[in-house]
């Protein structure tokens, strides 16, 4: 919720529970930035698109803001500087966002031929919130081109005042469990590789048919998410076996869950939590079918409102602990970084985020060909995966700051062996 200072009549926003960590962790090779993009049916008119951005952004005050440093916590304030400005796209997206650069904006808009992309710092919100921003901007752009687009689904009315529930910290509202369940921790197989040069983000995109994937998932009695998570876990385990057959560790995937499905909220800020499906090869040899069964059972067990509520409460307790609150930021920051480096990054072998099947208002369907989502540089030397589908096109985007492509290669080969048709695109310069 916005906080109003009665004397100076200025609004500011506390960072939500997920957001407080990201500004602390940002460094030159880890950006806490993600990107979502849309491929339109025609090349973009940059002047009109800039106008659409200028008209739409006031509707999203938490995205049109700047981050400031307080004594105990960071916070957001409205940013009235010129911008954000649409720029030509670059080969290496999701670069870090120094808080004082880019006119202090924590979002960027890029265009390239018929692609419009929005990059957002994770302290502003998650993929769901950013999708609202991007769809509203594109809807405004299409209206400027003369098309009629209704305000529904992710498209918000740019002439209306922001709903206070869009700005709320939903974690505080729903962190109501009476116990704080402990999280199990175990050693995990960690991918590693050779770091590419600074500010690099190597992308490999796989395009699949939603129909084909749905058919094969249903044949195995799982959902598309479960199928892809199992494929990634199985692939990483195969990579582990090929590297060192003696030492085997659990393969665990960090999978964000959109809490809005379980706890109604209109918030455009972060409202996700993580679950960690895994297999432990020390228990025996896992075939792909075994992995599917295990992941399916794990996710059916873990992804429900009770356990997720417990998870939110556990996270909230850390933030609301009196000691956490009174320790000044300059002491909190190194502690958070230390904890994240020593513990959190070693919790999972890779990340997979699935924004799911995205729909658009009736009038927009014919103007959009495809959507993509990219996670920024991983904190450690590994690869991350982001999935989104629109229409019959499902895109799987692997992003990493390393040169090796073992995981991507084995993952897509595995999908092809399963009978799926995969098309590949990349931003890597294959001529070097």
């Amino acid at each position: 919720m916005p906080n109003k200072n009665r004397h100076h009549n200025s609004t500011w926003y506390k960072l939500d529970l997920s957001a407080i960590v990201f500004p602390t962790l940002q460094r030159r090779d880890f950006s806490s930035v993600f990107r979502i993009s849309m491929l339109l049916s025609e090349d973009i008119n940059p002047e009109l698109m800039q106008k659409a951005i200028d008209l739409s952004m006031p509707r999203f005050p938490t995205y049109k803001s700047a981050i400031h440093t307080g004594i105990f916590w960071r916070y957001l304030e409205p940013n009235n500087r010129p911008g954000p400005f649409l720029k030509e796209d670059i080969q290496n997206p999701c670069m870090p966002m120094p808080f004082r650069s880019n006119n202090r904006y924590l979002i960027r808009f890029f265009y390239y031929k018929n692609r419009i992309a929005l990059e957002a710092h994770h302290s502003l919100g998650d993929g769901n919130g950013a999708m609202c921003v991007l769809q509203t901007v594109v809807a405004t752009y299409l209206r400027l081109l003369g098309h009629e687009i209704p305000n529904e689904k992710y498209v918000l009315d740019i002439n209306a005042e922001p709903d206070p529930s869009e700005l709320e910290d939903a974690y505080v509202k729903y962190g109501t469990a009476k116990v704080k369940p402990k999280r199990p921790s175990d050693k995990t197989f960690l991918l590693n590789g050779t770091k590419d040069r600074i500010f690099s983000l190597n992308i490999i995109t796989g395009l699949l048919s939603v129909k084909e994937l749905l058919e094969i998932s249903r044949k195995n009695g799982v959902t598309i998410t479960e199928y892809l998570v199992a494929s990634l876990i199985y692939t990483i385990n195969e990579v582990q076996k090929s590297r060192d057959n003696r030492k085997q560790y659990p393969v665990r995937i960090a999978l964000p869950v959109n809490l809005r499905q379980f706890f109604p909220s209109l918030t455009l800020r972060n409202f996700i939590t993580m679950v960690y499906p895994y297999i432990d090869p020390r228990l025996g040899e896992y075939t792909f079918e075994d992995t599917l069964k295990f992941v399916h059972t794990y996710l059916r067990y873990s992804v429900n409102d009770k356990l997720l509520c417990g998870d939110i409460t556990t996270n909230l307790a850390t933030q609301q602990n009196l000691f956490s609150r009174i320790v000044p930021l300059f002491l909190k920051d190194p502690i958070v970084r230390f904890f994240y480096k020593r513990v959190q990054t070693k919790n999972s072998s890779a990340g997979l985020t699935n924004l799911g099947r995205i729909t658009v208002p009736e009038g927009m369907t014919e103007h959009i060909q495809r959507m993509d989502v990219y996670m920024g540089q991983p904190y450690s030397t590994r690869t991350n995966c982001a999935v989104i589908s629109y229409g019959d096109v499902l895109t799987v985007n692997f992003t990493s700051g390393i040169i090796e492509t073992d995981v991507e290669r084995e993952f897509f080969r595995h999908l092809v062996e399963q009978g799926l048709s995969v098309s590949i695109e990349t931003n890597r310069n294959m001529n070097e």
């Binding site: 590949i424 310069n429 294959m430």
Partner: protein, 238 residues
């Protein structure tokens, strides 16, 4: 559209090698038309960018100006007005030390930590030498200050090397630090005893060394035993 013969995936027409396995793409049907393909069909742009720096260089310049101004103005004041002793040399010295500590790590991207530590060591040693010549004709510098400073920086260098190339964990880092504290207290007391009494006999340092040995052996035992390590990690995780 071409396929990779090893991976079985379809490849965008702008790609000449499979990005998954680096196999060259050869589509016999398009062999003659290959030279007509332009880069404009690429799905991703080819222009690279770098993010603007966050103002560290501006801070480095500001720091240099502030420290230089402090050093120069105090020196001039000392030389022209308050010239009963060379008191400004202390201020000039500490400004130089601060500059060496802060400026190179901020400004030079490729500088190694060992170079930074070496520069810090040289600057502190020279500053102590300066103080010793001003205070008492340098009597305590070589027997006391030099070995202590050399010991501190040598141990820091060793710890950094071990953390980079050997094991790094909470326990192993603590082990390195405890051992270093033990060694450093021995160096300190030895240097002081030798300077003051002409002979070395450890007293308070022996107590510190004994405690350091007990703690180090405990940590080393935990580190060398997998089950103990796992139990320790479980009970002490935070």
């Amino acid at each position: 559209m071409a396929y990779c013969v090893h991976c079985g995936v379809k490849l965008d027409e702008s790609i000449e090698r499979c990005p998954l396995c680096q196999t060259i793409v050869i589509d016999p049907n398009e062999f003659e038309l290959k030279e007509l393909k332009t880069k404009s069909s690429a799905p991703f742009p080819t222009t690279r960018a770098e993010v603007e720096e966050s103002g560290k260089y501006d801070f480095a310049i500001l720091l240099s100006v502030a420290l230089s101004a402090t050093a120069i103005t105090t020196f001039i004041l000392n030389w022209l007005l308050f010239n009963d002793s060379w008191w400004s040399l202390y201020i000039v010295g500490i400004c130089a030390v601060l500059w060496v500590y802060i400026f190179p790590p901020i400004t030079f991207k490729k500088i190694t930590i060992y170079s930074c530590l070496l520069m810090d060591y040289v600057s502190i040693t020279l500053f102590l030498l300066l103080i010793s010549t001003q205070v008492s004709e340098g009597g305590w510098f070589f027997p006391v200050a030099f070995p202590i400073t050399t010991g501190v920086f040598a141990l820091i260098d060793i710890i950094v090397y071990l953390m980079k190339h050997v094991k790094v964990s909470f326990l192993s880092t603590a082990l390195y630090i405890i051992i270093s504290i033990g060694i450093q207290t021995a160096i300190i007391e030895s240097s002081l005893d030798h300077y003051l009494y002409g002979s070395i006999s450890l007293s308070w340092a022996a107590v510190v060394i004994a405690v350091a040995i007990i703690i180090s052996l405990t940590f080393a035992t935990i580190l060398s035993n997998k089950k103990l390590r796992s139990r320790f990690r479980r009970r002490f995780h935070f």
